[in-house]
């Protein structure tokens, strides 16, 4: 195929120990990300997409079992790195994160500029002045006036704080920016403005993005490729053009039909049923119980089938074809 992937995830598994048993939040995920590509991991709440993000940055809670599988960054398996090496060489240096509701995660008693400059001082050992200069650049890049550098978080609106958090992820010029629901708590206009910023940065800087979201419409604002997650697995992975116009997997099709859209003459059609529990997922296809195109074979786990170059689906309807 094409150039070697920037990030390659192979058969990644992660589970949490809980009182009622092991929750398999990420259950055999394969993904790859090229340079200057935006990959959207789409999925409903509880499908394991946030766990995937946390695994990539090793921000796992205490009850998580050590992840299995391979995560290769430029060919090197970073999953095997020691905690210290990961902190020094990967986190924020190569992969930065914008967390869910991150605008509320800013320290309220430290000026915004200092917080944005902090990754540079920690990871690059820059002086305060130099780091602040770079932070000012990052601020103008995300569209905040630089005089906000010396303000405290509460003096900024929600949208501005979210921009500041994005600036914080950009200052160290990482290869990959991981965005976990970056705009879900924001208003329509603010959300669109932030997506504009991300689009511009992607075009100008050639950065790679992984955008994790449940919002289909917003996801299309950045996506080069879409990976749809369901109950801990990737059910379809395709180029955005393909995914938004002619998705292959039944779940993809139903999800697209279920989402309320602005310009749509037909009312949306809800998907009946609920996702399975990750405590004890069904042995076969995880979507089978809700799938209208269900066949007998669905009680066995479907393999991931390649439909076209870089287009894969996990469904028995396609598994008959080339593998």
């Amino acid at each position: 195929m094409s150039a070697p992937a920037l990030l390659e995830i192979a058969d990644l598994r992660l589970s949490y120990r809980t009182e009622s048993g092991a929750v398999r939040a990420v259950d055999g995920v394969n993904l790859e990300l090229q340079r200057n590509e935006a990959l959207v991991v789409l999925g409903e709440s509880g499908c394991g997409k946030s766990s995937l993000a946390k695994t990539l940055l090793r921000l796992l809670p205490r009850n998580a079992v050590a992840p299995e599988g391979v995560v290769r960054l430029d060919g090197e398996d970073i999953l095997g790195y020691s905690e210290e090496r990961f902190r020094r060489e990967v986190r924020w240096v190569r992969i930065a994160l914008v967390m869910q509701a991150a605008m509320n995660a800013l320290n309220p008693v430290i000026r915004v500029g200092e917080q944005v400059a902090e990754p540079l001082r920690i990871h690059r050992g820059w002086s305060r002045r130099r780091a602040l200069e770079r932070a000012a650049e990052a601020f103008s890049e995300v569209g905040i006036a630089t005089d906000f550098l010396s303000r405290y978080p509460h003096e900024l609106s929600g949208g501005m704080r979210q921009r500041a958090v994005i600036a914080m992820a950009l200052v160290t010029e990482p290869d990959i920016v991981l965005l976990d629901e970056p705009t879900s708590a924001l208003d329509v206009l603010t959300q669109a403005a932030i997506m504009n910023v991300l689009k511009r940065i992607k075009a100008e800087r050639g950065m790679s993005f992984i955008l994790i979201t449940h919002d289909v419409a917003t996801s299309s604002e950045l996506a080069d490729r879409v990976a749809l997650m369901y109950a801990g697995q990737i059910v379809e992975e395709a180029a955005a053009e393909r995914f938004f116009t002619a998705p292959a997997h039944p779940y993809s099709q139903m999800l697209m039909a279920a989402v309320p859209k602005l310009h749509q003459q037909q009312p949306p059609r809800p998907i009946p049923g609920r996702p399975p529990s990750l405590l004890d997922p069904p042995a076969g296809c995880r979507f089978a119980a809700r799938c209208p195109q269900r066949i007998d074979r669905c009680s066995e786990a479907p393999p991931s089938t390649t439909l076209a170059p870089r287009h894969r689906s996990r469904c028995w309807l396609h598994a008959g074809g080339k593998r």
């Binding site: 329509v188 996801s219 938004f244």
Partner: protein
């Protein structure tokens, strides 16, 4: 759909001996809240409006008055203001947040309307004022012919039964330490409804109506044992229990997954039609509006800037702010990734010091300097039922 059949059963199962007349015949405006009786003349007109709205769907213009008869809507809001005073040391007035600042609209029996606006535009304060949780600073709210400000004691309690409330955060809206059955029994106990047995039946009926059968299984659970969508169904069931005439749904789907949103909105619409309820659907997301409301109102900085039938408002928006909102919204399309969206500069104004004149003028791309920043825009009527507060359209 199983839901539909159970819905049609529920109104029939009501006992005529029940002391509560509210909501029993949702379409009948003579069942006033505070024993308000009105001429029966109005009944025909309202019934007609309600039926028309249902049969012709979103294309109907329920606001278009029937000129032959005096027509009284269920809810009339006139020049409503809700300000929150900011005080220092408990008494010194230092300013006031003008959360709702001159809002007027009407809502008919069985009509569903939506209020669209960004966070901080005052839409939730408006909802809470209508629910009687905030005292209006000025203006009037009339519900079924009775002024809300005059309601006290029993009459106020009866009003609360007549208005159902669905909130944004379904998990937060349910007390986490109570089982579903207890949660649903609470409003009935508060209003002294029936025996334990009768309440149970009513709860079961409500749970079935929102699609949470079997009821006796659901009501054994605690809220955290339900999914977000199921929790929101319980909240809707609670709003329905007291047989309201109006349901105010404040961002009922914004915290739910995209695929569940359609489901909940569909449920609200079904219930609204079945019971001929008036529904005020408050949202920040215009894309969830089209199929679920007759009429839309766009709110900005405490005021309604544009209102009209949903289809018309979405397809031919007049106010620059409505246009901006619509331009910012996208439908899933791979092409989105390659174009910048036009977004008006700036942020919504502080309601502590709202801009003079038209509140949108600092961000407006079509500002007419010398007019917009000094004078409140007059309301224009591009079409009957379509009103725009913008100098561009009133001359």
């Amino acid at each position: 759909m199983r839901r539909t059949t159970s819905v049609s059963e529920t109104p029939g199962s009501e006992k005529p001996g029940s002391e509560r007349s509210i909501g029993e015949r949702p379409g009948n405006p003579s069942a006033g809240v505070a024993t308000a009786t009105r001429g029966t003349v109005a009944t025909g007109g309202v019934e007609a409006t309600g039926t028309g709205a249902v049969t012709t769907g979103g294309a109907a213009t329920p606001t278009a008055p029937t000129y032959q008869q005096p027509h009284q809507p269920l809810l009339t809001v006139e020049a409503l203001q809700t300000h929150f005073e900011l005080r220092q040391w408990g008494f010194l007035r230092v300013g006031s947040v003008r959360a709702v600042d001159g809002v007027s609209f009407t809502l008919d029996h069985g009509e569903s309307a939506t209020i669209v606006g960004e966070s901080g535009c005052g839409k939730s304060s408006l909802a809470r004022t209508l629910l009687g949780l905030h005292r209006p600073t000025a203006g009037r709210v009339t519900f079924a012919g009775t002024d809300l400000a005059t309601l006290r004691g029993r009459a106020l309690k009866a009003y609360r039964a007549a208005v159902g409330y669905v909130q944004q955060d379904p998990y937060g809206a349910l007390p986490p330490f109570m089982k579903i059955r207890r949660i649903l029994e609470e409003p009935l106990i508060v209003h002294g409804v029936g025996t334990r047995r009768a309440r149970e039946e009513r709860i079961a009926a409500a749970l079935e109506e929102v699609g949470l059968e079997p009821a006796h299984e659901t009501w054994q659970k605690f809220p955290h044992q339900l999914s977000g969508g199921q929790q929101q169904r319980v909240v809707i069931a609670r709003a329905l229990l007291l047989r309201p005439k109006l349901i105010i749904a404040d961002e009922p789907v914004s915290m739910l997954d995209a695929s569940v949103r359609a489901e909940i909105l569909e449920l609200l619409r079904t219930i609204q039609r079945q019971h001929r309820l008036a529904l005020l659907y408050i949202t920040h997301d215009l894309s969830t509006v089209r199929h679920y409301a007759h009429r839309a109102m766009v709110m900005y900085a405490g005021r309604i800037v544009e209102q009209g039938p949903v289809e018309r408002l979405l397809d031919r928006p007049h106010h620059p702010y409505t246009r901006a909102l619509l331009a910012a919204l996208v439908d899933p399309d791979a092409a989105n990734a390659h174009q910048q969206r036009p977004i008006p500069a700036g942020e919504p104004p502080s309601l502590l010091h709202p801009p003079s004149g038209c509140r949108f003028h600092p961000r407006c791309p079509a500002i007419m300097v010398g007019r917009c920043e000094h004078f409140d825009p007059e309301e224009a009527h591009p079409r009957p039922g379509h009103r725009v507060a913008c100098w561009l359209h009133s001359r």
